[in-house]
């Protein structure tokens, strides 16, 4: 190994260490920013190290690529609103996966259209291209659904799972064939075509509300594609960064599925999102709902000593996070204590609600996750539910016949009283009646979430 290679390998090793340190720093918000700067330095080292590689003889194409990428990347990073984070991450996966795919295609072409590849390298290249291509179209579909360019509801067709599985089998069949006999460009192009189609067909039947799981899963695939690139071109920093990503995406997909009370397989093959479940419309007959005026609700909040705000998807949709924070500040001025209960699937991706509230200047210590906040509901005077429904439905704990039975929920029903901000008595995403709304401890404040919150703010100010 000559001095140049030594420097390159040292840069790659340092980059790998910085990536791990960066991810480790995310275990605490105080250190996270600094840690991510280290990860960025790691990326810079990896780039600089690569520029020393002997095979690189011309720099003009590199310069063009770097400039174009930066010019597109900076506005993408600085301008995107926090509410659009899921689709931003989806499209960004698409770009990364496209790069991995193109590197794979190039390697295949340069090695005499596969003729110069041994079985091992072809395996790595094939996996890289397959996962990369699938992630490109899958990410574009996820982006389209989240951005509402495409309909968010699940799109299904007859024999959908059978046809998707057949396509999956065919794609892997071609991959197997290529590994046995690498010098077959037609098979390679066919595999890319099928992988692109597979990405579309796998995401189409998944509903908008399940998209977080898909985005995490695509994160994992993009990582695995990068790792496969590392195997194909013999580069350890690619293998390490890819493995870190693969593990992260996989872990998050599983956490998300659990929080939605669904098996991983059910999310991928279930086409559940948006289809009403024809159950449990029975239990509410004869029960009454207590509606409350903004004035009364304001008095109740102003004189409460412990308030827990339960923000749901509806809050993000109404862009009401700033008004909530204003309301919380007013309650605190009156001597009350305000905390936020964050369900793992609140918002549109894992942890999304935390970002939205942090953006509205809510200090992060007030954002408590489910396990931390649940024991505190019993001591809470008022739980203020804003645009959340299924994640506060006690049926998940009490009614084994309910479709959401077993789903982890926030125990709002244990609070001394609850005020629920809701547009109407329509059922939630899962189409299930919510006994919390009929509880004698619960008062409903009907109307648009943001308008209701503004009214509460005005009323408390007037007290």
């Amino acid at each position: 190994m000559n001095a140049r290679d030594l420097v390159i390998q040292a840069a790659y090793l340092a980059a790998s260490v910085f990536f791990i340190l960066g991810l480790k720093s995310l275990s605490h918000p105080d250190r996270a920013r600094q840690g991510m700067n280290q990860a960025a330095i790691g990326m810079l080292l990896a780039i600089l190290g690569t520029l020393l590689v002997q095979d690189i003889v011309t720099y003009q194409w590199i310069a063009i690529g770097l400039v174009v990428g930066t010019v597109i990347g900076i506005p993408l990073g600085t301008k995107v609103p926090m509410t659009a984070m899921p689709q931003q991450i989806a499209i960004s996966h698409g770009f990364g996966a496209a790069a991995a795919t193109l590197v794979g295609v190039n390697e295949f072409v340069v090695r005499g259209f596969g003729a110069g590849l041994d079985h091992g390298t072809m395996t790595a290249l094939g996996v890289e291209t397959l996962l990369g291509a699938l992630t490109v179209t899958g990410s574009l579909m996820a982006f389209g659904k989240l951005q509402e360019i495409l309909p968010g509801r699940p799109i299904t067709w007859p024999a959908q799972n059978v046809s998707s599985l057949a396509l999956l089998a065919a794609t892997f069949g071609i991959l197997g064939w290529l590994i046995v006999a690498p010098g077959n460009p037609m098979a390679y192009w066919a595999m890319i075509g099928l992988s692109l189609l597979l990405g579309v067909l796998l995401v189409l039947p998944i509903g908008g509300a399940d998209m977080p799981v898909v985005v995490s899963l695509l994160n994992s695939y993009a990582g695995l594609a990068a790792a496969a690139t590392g195997f194909a071109i013999g580069n350890n920093v690619l293998i390490i960064a890819g493995a870190l990503n693969g593990a992260s995406g996989f872990l998050l997909s599983i956490l998300m599925s659990k929080a939605m009370n669904r098996s991983f397989a059910n999310v991928i093959f279930g086409a559940f999102g948006g289809e009403p479940v024809a159950a449990a419309a029975t239990s509410t007959a004869g029960l009454t709902v207590r509606s409350v005026s903004a004035e009364d609700a304001a008095v109740q909040l102003a004189f409460a000593s412990r308030v827990i705000v339960v923000p749901g998807y509806g809050l993000a949709v109404a862009q009401a996070q700033h008004v909530v924070q204003e309301l919380a500040e007013l309650i605190e001025k009156k001597g009350g204590e305000v905390k936020y209960a964050i369900h793992p699937v609140a918002g549109r991706m894992p942890g999304h609600m935390n970002v939205l509230l942090a953006e509205a200047n809510v200090p992060y210590e007030k954002l408590l996750d489910m396990d931390e906040i649940n024991p505190q509901f019993e001591q809470c005077d008022v739980a203020l539910v804003v645009g959340a429904n299924d994640v506060v439905n006690p049926a998940a704990r009490t009614d084994p016949s309910s479709p959401i039975y077993g789903m982890p929920i926030l125990n709002v029903d244990k609070a001394r009283s609850a005020i629920v901000l809701k547009r109407s008595m329509n059922t939630g995403f899962a189409g299930i009646e919510n006994a919390l709304f009929y509880s004698p401890r619960t008062a409903m404040l009907f109307g648009d979430a943001k308008a209701s919150l503004s009214r509460l703010v005005a009323e408390i100010k007037a007290l």
Partner: protein, 103 residues
């Protein structure tokens, strides 16, 4: 299977373990920044793209490589910028509006 491949498999498996350990300690509070951080890191495909774009073998390599560099760079730059933008918002104390650069 060559000795090189075996070492690569070791590296992959051990890195995946490290990833699993490190990431399972990230609190749900920071799951969105985590996703955008790993997304930025997955732009590491840039390394492979640079070699392709700078090689002298083929014009095809230069062009495919150039497009790949651009794509990976979007991923890297966008990913790190947005992660930092999010992490900057996670504050212990409420900020004064003047000090808040994100608005």
């Amino acid at each position: 299977m060559t000795a090189m491949t075996i070492i690569q498999i070791y590296v992959f498996v051990l890195a995946a373990f490290v990833g699993y350990m490190v990431i399972s300690r990230v609190p749900p509070l920071l799951h969105t920044p985590l996703m955008s951080a790993t997304n930025a890191i997955s732009g590491i495909s840039l390394v492979g793209s640079l070699v392709a774009a700078g090689s002298a073998d083929h014009h095809v390599s230069n062009i495919l490589g150039c497009v790949a560099v651009a794509c990976a760079m979007v991923n890297v730059v966008g990913g790190f910028v947005i992660t930092d933008r999010m992490l900057r918002m996670f504050q212990r104390k409420p900020k004064t509006p003047a000090a808040d650069g994100t608005q």
